[in-house]
């Protein structure tokens, strides 16, 4: 049985609590049980824990009825498995995933290795954004000469990007 919080590790801690006549059950892995402080049975309320589990719920908030256009995955599938359908799901469910990743990890942005070609793509993307901004400004200023030059540059960059 998988942990209800991270949905990745085997659950090793099984909790049952009767709250207002309703029985609640939570299965946790070792790491999550420690993180949630369930080691100390007096200092923890199962209700809070259940509220905190919101992984799948977070995703639903972000995309109430969304389906990944790449792989057809839905938030209901995530709720079931705790895994995503494809790399495109990170874009599809970006909004909901944001807070989930924040709760799970040390930071919210990757600072480590990327594939070599990624550096080129990122650099081209940055240059494209800068040129587009300049173009908008030139158009707003009715500076048509430099706007035309910028358009040429953008066209060339788009061509470079496509290679």
């Amino acid at each position: 049985m998988l942990c209800d919080v991270c949905k990745c590790n085997e659950a090793t801690v099984f909790l049952t609590q009767i709250l207002e006549g309703k029985m609640q059950k939570v299965n946790l892995c070792d790491a999550c049980s420690k993180e949630k402080g369930v080691q100390d049975p007096t200092g923890f309320a199962l209700a809070d824990l259940l509220l905190g589990i919101g992984a799948a719920e977070e995703i639903e908030k972000g995309a109430p009825s969304q389906k990944c256009p790449v792989c057809g995955f839905t938030q209901a599938d995530f709720k079931k498995t705790g895994r995503l359908g494809c790399s495109g799901c990170y874009v599809t469910f970006a909004e909901g995933l944001g807070s989930l990743l924040k709760a799970m990890h040390k930071g919210t942005e990757h600072v480590g290795k990327l594939p070599q070609r990624a550096h080129r793509e990122i650099e081209l993307g940055d240059r494209m954004r800068a040129l587009t901004e300049d173009l908008e400004k030139a158009v707003a200023d009715e500076n048509y000469e430099s706007a035309a030059a910028l358009r040429d540059k953008i066209k060339q960059l788009a061509h470079e990007k496509a290679i």
Binding site: C6, K7, C8, E10, T12, V13, D30, A31, K34, V70, C71, F73, D77, T81, G82, R83, L84, G85, C86, S87, G88, Y90, V91, L97, L100, L101, M104, H105, K106, G107, T108, E109, H110, V111, G112, K113, L114, P115, Q116, R117, A118, E121, I122, G125
Partner: protein, 374 residues
């Protein structure tokens, strides 16, 4: 390379020659990678999974690191063979449950093993003896850099490598070490250490048991998060923490020798007695007793050249290894008998524990002084 060769040549990490190998059994670094715009293995239909496998497998096999490799489709391995690979930490339990559309490729030295279509399209793992997280990372990082030129890996400029489970996103890296900590367990300081390590965002868990129960006093320590920290930072942070744990384990052993020697010699003597004469033994009991004998070798109560046979028994007495070497399927009772028999045979040439050889450090430093009787 055939499966029989994998069985016959114990992996490099099993020989235990790396730095700090008395306490750190092995170091592992695993990277998770996926192909862009393709369904992850758990979501892909069989046809797509097979397609992805056919894209990846030849690229992995042609790596210079994979010359003369063992490469097998999971459906072509028997349940027992898969289990043997799990017991050697060459594939995961989850991967052993896979069949059509998954594969494993590993090098001859068994320092590099690549799972195709486990939870992610690629799980690349390097495993080394002793505390060698840095060199384990270096190897798997090099393989990753070669493969990224041939395969279109999924990544995001902000989130890094994209993985099936959000807990792995970013570096996709899990670095871990397997530690043998009988001193901290016997001196009842292990929980303190585990709590301290958990507080700084690293995970510790018993290797075979569940939760805090650790069979054979074996513990695995690993990074818990993968987003927001560089690979080499994670590796060096983990290495530093492990070095501290090694010191603590060393201190605990000295404390036991100096203050609880009766308990210590009793444990070693009993372990020796039971292992030498028992005719039935569960895997759990074997691991726990072998751990104490291993401690005895570390402390000098047994000669150093007895180390390898003990280390080998940790793996050879695991259920699948027992059955594979005896060429037949055995029930639990038969396994317990065979396990005890193998251990008795290997310990037949084992001398009795000699506690007068135990190196005792003086309170203030590391100069050994002769051991008085307890």
């Amino acid at each position: 390379m055939k499966f029989e060769n994998v069985m016959a040549t114990g992996g490099e990490w099993l020989r235990g020659e790396g730095p700090h190998h008395q306490i750190v059994i092995s170091s592992r670094v695993r990277l998770a990678r996926n192909l862009r715009q393709r369904a992850f293995p758990g979501w892909a239909k069989k046809a797509e999974r097979t397609q992805i496998l056919e894209l990846i497998k030849p690229r992995v096999e042609e790596l210079t690191e994979m010359q003369d490799s063992f490469s097998e489709l999971l459906q072509d391995l028997s349940a027992l063979e898969k289990q043997v690979l799990v017991e050697r930490h060459l594939i995961s339990r989850e991967h052993a449950a896979k069949s059509v559309g998954s594969a494993v490729i590993m090098n001859r030295r068994q320092t590099l093993s690549i799972m195709v279509n486990e939870e992610d399209h690629l799980r690349m793992q390097s495993i080394r003896s002793g505390l060698q997280l840095k060199s384990a990372f270096k190897l798997v990082d090099k393989v990753d850099s070669t493969l990224e030129g041939k395969l279109d890996f999924a990544y995001d400029a902000r989130l890094g490598y994209l993985t099936a489970c959000p807990t792995n996103v970013g570096t996709g890296m899990r670095a871990s070490a397997m530690l043998h900590l009988p001193g901290l367990v016997l001196s009842e300081m292990i929980n303190q250490v585990i709590q301290a390590v958990n507080k700084i965002g690293l995970a510790v868990r018993g290797l075979y048991g569940e939760g805090t129960e650790a069979m054979g006093n074996l513990f695995q320590i690993s990074n818990q998060t993968t987003l927001g920290e560089k690979e080499d930072e994670i590796v060096s942070r983990l290495s530093k923490v492990i070095e501290t744990i090694i010191e603590k384990e060393h201190d605990a052993r000295q404390m036991l020798i100096q203050k609880k020697s009766n308990t210590l010699w009793d444990q070693i003597g009993r372990a020796y007695g039971v292992l030498t004469f028992a005719h039935a033994m569960t895997s759990k009991e074997a691991l726990n007793l072998l751990s104490i004998i291993k401690l005895g070798v570390d402390l000098g109560a047994f000669p150093e050249d007895r180390r390898l046979p003990i280390d080998e028994l940790f793996i050879d007495t695991q259920p699948a290894h027992l059955q594979k070497s005896s060429q037949q399927k055995l029930n639990a009772e038969e396994r317990d008998h065979l396990r005890a028999q193998i251990i008795r045979e290997r310990l037949r040439v084992f001398p009795k524990p000699d506690i007068s050889k135990v190196a005792r450090e003086s309170e203030n430093g590391s100069t050994p002084e002769p051991q008085n009787n307890e």
